[in-house]
Amino acid sequence: MSTQVTAATESLWSGGRSPYAVNSKKFGMWLFLISDSLTFAAMLFAYTYSRVTNPDWPKPFDFSPAIIFSTVMTFCLLSSSLTMVLAVNAMNHGDRKGTVKWLIATMIGGGAFVVLHMSEWLKLINVEHVTPFGNPWGVPLFGGTFFALTGLHMTHVIIGLIYLLVMVVAVGRGKFKAEDVEVAGLYWHFVDLVWMFIFPLVYLMSARVG
C-alpha cells in the first residue's frame, strides 16, 4: 500500500510540479498562441472561402514591385526571428548586453516590416483605390478580408515591438530572467509563423506576372 502511495506522489501528474516541464509563464503563452492560431486560421479560411466563391477575384499584386516588396518583408520577419533566437540564446548564457543587442536587431527587422507594410497599404488605398468596403474590380470582399487579415497581423507585429521594447529596457536594467525573454520569443516567432501563411495565400496566389 505504501509503495503505491509513493509511486502516485512521484507521478508527473500528481501535482506539485509541472507535468510539461515548462514554467507557468511559458505554458500560458503557449495556450494564448494556440487560441490566437484559431483566430488567424478562421480569418485565413474566410479569405480563402471568399476567394473560391468569387471567380472574378482580383489579382492586384504585380510581380514587380508588389511581390518583390512583400518578399523583402518576409525576409525582414524571418531574419528578425533568427535574431530573436540569438537573443534568447544570449540570455540563457547570462549575456545581458548581447541579449539587448539582439533584441534591438529584432526590433529593427520588425520595424522594417511595419514600415514596408504600411507603404504597401498606402499604395493600395491611394493608387489602386482599394478600401475595406470597395475596389475598382467590383469585389468588395477582397478589400474587407485583405485589410482585416493583414491588419490583424500588423497589429500583432506592433504589439510585439512594444513587448520587445519593454524587454530591452528591463533586461538592460538587470530585470527579468531568461525564461521571460524566451516567452517574448515565443510570441515573436508566432507573428513570423502566421506571416508564413499570409504571404503565400494572400500575396503569391494573387500575383500578376507580365
Binding site: 507535468p19 516541464a21 509563464k25 478562421a42 473560391v52 540569438l86 520569443g185 504571404f199 506576372v209
Partner: protein, 106 residues
Amino acid sequence: MSTYTEEIHHPGASIATFGKVWVMLLVLTGVEVLLAYEQVPTLIMLTALVGLSVIKAAMIIAYFMHLKFERLSLFLTLFPMLIFCIVLMLIFLGDAVRIPNMRPGL
C-alpha cells in the same frame, strides 16, 4: 497567488542549427516566389504553397519556438486539438466550390 516558477533547463539547438533553419526557411520562401512567377495552375500552386507553408511553420515551431526540445506531453496537449479544429473549418470549403456553379449565366 504566485506563478509557478520551477527552474527547468532543456538542451536546445546550437547557433549553427538556427542558422541552417533560417537558410532553409529563406530557400523555401524563394521556391514559393518562383512558383508565383511561373504562374503554375491554381490547384497545383495552392497545394504546393500550403505544403511549403506547413513545412516552414513546422520548422519555426520545432526549432525557433523550441518545441522539439520540450516534453512530448506539451505537444500532445496543444497541437492535436488545434489541427482538429482547423480541419473542421475546411469542411466548409466544399460549399465554397459549389457556390460559383449556382450563379446564373456562368
